[in-house]
């Protein structure tokens, strides 16, 4: 569990939040609302049929689904998979230009204007949640009007990925600062979390033991994906009861 650090504010001591997410797989239905919500919020372009056939689609969040057993005793295991914001992120040390790093709040940040497109990070990510832009993104007019001005459109030749909707984190912090208060638990909702009809996804400060996400992360059902690799992901999955 990440521990919060303390940073000097303007005369007051404030705990640096440690962002994380919990996803309850007993609630998640695999409806993919999060997938489209993410594309809409983060200007994730569609690749088109030809590029999709080459495996070049970009889904910052996806639903992994695997069949188990055979008819009639068959079932599906599914889970939303996004950047796990690992504390020991395999993507970070392999970047030759330090375009990706973990910030003080635990986000694995990608700096698009530093990235030179080696794709080492994408290759080294065991969760396959990093995407290379083979071509400049295009939106047939007037689809460009849908773009979110808070999120930069990534050019060709760089790698992009889930940011935990850092622009929403920033907005919530600015609002809280303007109102002279701390960011409240549940106040920040990445687009996937906000959209989820089953309310399966919870985002918050893992270093605050009273936060909802911290409580869920401590659940007996909580597991992390490929935890055995030692990546220390910040996304906790609450397994289905059955």
């Amino acid at each position: 569990m990440p521990e919060g650090s303390t940073e000097a504010g303007t005369g007051t001591q404030r705990r640096t939040p440690q962002w994380g997410m919990a996803i309850d797989l007993d609630r998640c239905t695999g409806c993919e609302a999060c997938v489209v919500a993410c594309a809409s919020e983060n200007n994730v372009p569609t690749a088109g049929e030809d590029q999709a056939a080459k495996g070049r689609t970009k889904h910052w969040i996806r639903i992994d689904r695997y069949y188990e057993g055979d008819f009639p005793n068959i079932r599906v295991r599914h889970r939303p998979v996004l950047c796990q914001q690992c504390d020991e992120a395999p993507c970070e040390p392999v970047c030759p230009v330090n375009a990706t790093y973990q910030n003080a709040e635990g986000l694995n940040v990608q700096i698009y204007n530093r990235c030179i497109g080696t794709r080492y990070c994408a290759i080294n990510c065991p969760y396959t949640v990093r995407f290379f832009n083979w071509y400049p993104p295009e939106w047939a007019e007037p689809l460009g009007l849908q773009l979110n001005p808070d999120v930069s459109v990534r050019p060709a030749g760089v790698v992009e990925k889930c940011t935990f909707c850092v622009q929403r984190i920033k907005r919530a912090k600015l609002n809280a600062t303007a109102e002279g208060r701390e960011v409240g638990d549940g106040e920040i909702q990445p687009a996937c979390v906000q959209s989820c009809p089953a309310e399966a996804m919870v985002f918050g400060d893992l270093s605050d033991p009273s936060s909802r996400v911290a409580r869920l992360a401590n659940s007996r059902r909580a597991q992390r994906l490929l935890e055995e690799l030692g990546t220390k992901p910040r996304v906790f999955y609450l397994e289905r009861a059955d």
């Binding site: 239905t29 993919e32 594309a39 056939a53 009639p72 330090n98 689809l143 009809p197």
Partner: protein, 720 residues
């Protein structure tokens, strides 16, 4: 930053990475490249709106920000500053969406900004169905439409046919007013999703008018028969919210879900137990369960309704029912025992895949709730709210639309695409007197129009809509908050203008008028204050909600006889509503084209889903091109060998196979409805989606299937 400093920073940063102590160090360095103020949130405002993507009627919020676009003025390209919608979210005030939104709801934005959206009115410039149009002025288009209306009404107003969508909203009320002014019959709903079976089933089992709602959030055991309520059906956001709560919203209580359907749908994925019913066997299963419950002594406190249900179920032969649905008598008894033992069971009765006997099947499944005493109680089935009765009355139904279309002197189309969902009606469209479309896009049906008068996008117009299912009296509503992007006009005012020019004027209802009427019907002492305050508050909140739904059954059971399903015939075919495209309307949104299909992981196309047994017999593998032939038609599509398909059952999702629907959808894939001919639910006339017998033939070994993930099984070491 100059070039020298840039390399200094990069060099230091790289050193940090090599020493492995990059964390804090990079924090100190990187801000030089990405200043803290790098992300500056823009100025935004949020406005309530009503989602127009399906009939659920979710209240949503639209994020509006300033933008620029280029337009042509007097032959010159100039920039124009406009307010634009940037994002859609659920409206937390709205009891249907509760602040949540589904994939299709998000993609409503791409209908607003669709590159193939009509920029203005059009006149046909080629043969009907070819989709060739020329731009005309509104004056010219309206004159043409008015002349056609005049002449049709003068000839015989009874032959004016209005094809629309099954929604209870402002638009439906204005269409009803328009048709009433003309002396024409009510509008028809033509899609496969008009819930005629659900409405009739509820009327027969409970005596209710409308679509009932299921309080599954408070249930301990949910048995769903034929209702894929998590991926589509009546109200996917409402029921997914309820499902989440049922599972993990109550400390110490985890609700259980048993799902009976002829395909392994999203609801089946999430069920604790899936009952793979043979296509068309839903009625037999419901009757068999009823018989087993009667044998267990269910319905111990008899009322007239319970007595009627007991009497109907007592006549059922369990073994015969078992043979007809493909489930063993033992399994049926097991499920019945579980239902009888549960503290708060509920049976969700639906027809996600409409059959020839769907109305009977829904009535029989609904009657199980009567037997179990789960009607109008917490965690049971609740009656449809009764506010704004005129909107409910105006909701179009199937209503013999094919017969009327075949004899039409004027066809007006708004939000319906029968040429896609019932391809056999194309001939009638080609031969109809005049066809007027109010669509924003040229789709399969609008391609037959003589004149197209494009409507505003749902986000560009005001709205009042009743949710298709709700556990509380409520409406979602919105005022207009952005200007129309193109030269479109709201269809409500277009209809009023056409009626006026035909000398049959009517006063269209607007959002304010509908909400004022709602306030009046609530009566004095409703706590809603003045009419003006009520309307203002509702439009500001984006919704109004009143009392929770309540009431018991008043109905008399009238279950039909059931027939043995076609269980011995190999390879039957059924179509179904897809999660991403619904019944086809979402296919022109690129986000949805690239959204992996839940079953097959297919993108930019949908496959024929073939069970492993049939696939093995025909040596069919994923991606092979297969021809499917029925007595009604044929199609070619890539195959997906679905590990969860019932042996002998071939399925295909609706969505692709549009002859016309813009650059993202036209000519892409196959239309599964082309295999079905003119199948209908025998009691309601609703378009049925199977089963029909099919013959499969492998044409090519190939790579016809684009999949996001080609891996169906989690086999190490590819864990992710």
């Amino acid at each position: 930053m100059d070039r020298r400093n840039f390399f200094r920073v990069v060099g230091t940063a790289s050193g940090g990475a090599i020493t492995g102590a990059c964390g804090r160090k990079s924090e100190e360095i990187i801000p030089l490249l990405v200043p803290e103020e790098g992300i500056t949130p823009g100025v935004e405002s949020w406005h309530p709106a009503v989602c127009g993507e399906c009939a659920a009627g979710c209240g949503i919020l639209a994020r509006v920000m300033a933008s620029e676009r280029e337009i042509e003025v007097d032959g010159e390209r100039v920039r124009q500053r406009i307010a634009t919608v940037k994002k859609l979210e659920g409206n937390p005030n709205d009891p249907t969406s509760g602040g949540r939104l589904c994939a299709r709801g998000h993609a409503g934005l791409q209908a607003l900004y669709g590159p193939d959206r009509l920029r203005g009115p059009m006149r046909r410039a080629g043969p009907r169905g070819a989709g060739r149009f020329e731009a005309v002025s509104w004056e010219s288009a309206m004159q043409e439409a008015a002349e056609a209306l005049d002449s049709a009404v003068a000839e015989d107003a009874g032959r004016v046919v209005f094809l629309s969508r099954p929604r209870a909203d402002l638009r439906a009320a204005n269409i009803a007013k328009f048709l009433s002014a003309l002396g024409a019959p009510p509008a028809c709903a033509v899609g496969v999703r008009d819930f005629a079976a659900e409405v009739q089933g509820a009327e027969r089992a409970y005596g209710w008018r409308g679509i009932p709602a299921y309080a599954i959030r408070d249930a301990t055991l949910v048995l769903s028969i034929g209702a894929d309520f998590l991926s589509g059906w009546v109200s996917p956001v409402l029921y997914t919210r309820q499902f989440g709560h049922m599972r993990r919203g109550r400390p110490g209580v985890r609700g259980r879900l048993i799902h009976a359907e002829s395909r392994f749908s999203l609801t089946a994925w999430n069920a604790d137990r899936w009952l793979p019913v043979w296509p068309g066997g839903e009625l037999a299963l419901a009757l068999g369960l009823g018989r087993a419950l009667v044998d267990l002594g269910a319905g111990a406190s008899p009322t007239r309704a319970v007595e009627a249900a007991r009497a109907a179920f007592a006549e059922v032969d369990l073994d015969e029912a078992s043979a007809a649905c493909g489930m063993s008598a033992g399994t049926i008894r097991e499920v019945a025992t579980e239902l009888a033992a549960a503290s708060a069971p509920v049976v969700v009765a639906g027809a996600s895949i409409v059959r020839e006997h769907s109305a009977d099947a829904v009535a029989a499944a609904s009657a199980l709730n009567v037997l179990l005493g789960r009607v109008g109680v917490a965690g049971g089935v609740m009656p449809p709210p009764t506010v704004l009765a005129d909107l409910v009355e105006a909701r179009p139904s199937s209503n013999r639309w094919r017969e009327r279309l075949a004899n039409a002197n004027l066809v007006i189309i708004d939000g319906a695409n029968p040429a896609y969902s019932s391809p056999s009606c194309r001939e009638a469209l080609a031969n109809a007197g005049t066809v007027i479309s109010l669509s924003s896009f040229v789709d399969d049906t609008s391609a037959y129009a003589d004149v197209v008068l494009p409507d505003h996008d749902p986000l560009e117009r005001e709205a009042v809509a009743l949710p298709s299912a709700s556990l509380v009296e409520s409406v979602a509503c919105s005022a207009r908050f952005v200007a129309a992007l193109h030269d479109s006009r709201p269809a409500d005012s277009v209809l009023a203008d056409l009626a006026a020019s035909a000398g049959k004027p009517f006063e269209p209802l607007d959002a304010q008028g509908a909400l004022t009427r709602l306030h009046a019907t609530l009566g004095a002492g409703n706590g809603a204050g003045s009419s003006e305050g009520f309307v203002e508050s509702a439009l500001e909140q984006g919704c109004w909600q009143g009392r929770p739904a309540s009431g018991g059954t008043t109905g008399v059971i009238g279950l039909g006889a059931f027939e043995v399903a076609d269980s011995m015939v190999p390879a039957v075919f059924q179509a179904y509503e897809s999660l991403q495209f619904g019944t086809g309307g979402g296919a022109n949104r690129p986000w949805l084209q690239e959204l992996p299909d839940p079953t097959s992981s297919a993108m930019w196309g949908l496959p024929l889903e073939i069970d492993p047994v049939t696939a093995s017999e025909l040596a069919i593998e994923n991606g092979d091109i297969v021809r499917a032939r029925s007595d009604h038609g044929s199609l070619e599509a890539p195959a997906y060998v679905n590990p969860a398909a019932i042996p002998g059952v071939i399925s295909m999702a609706m969505g692709q196979g549009h002859s016309q629907y813009g650059r993202y959808a036209s000519g892409r894939g196959a239309n599964p409805m082309s295999l079905l001919g003119d199948m209908r639910d025998r009691r309601t006339g609703a378009t049925a989606m199977g089963p029909v017998r099919v013959h499969l033939e492998r044409l090519d070994k190939g790579k016809g299937l684009i999949q996001f993930s080609r891996q169906d099984r989690d086999v190490p070491p590819h864990r992710v």
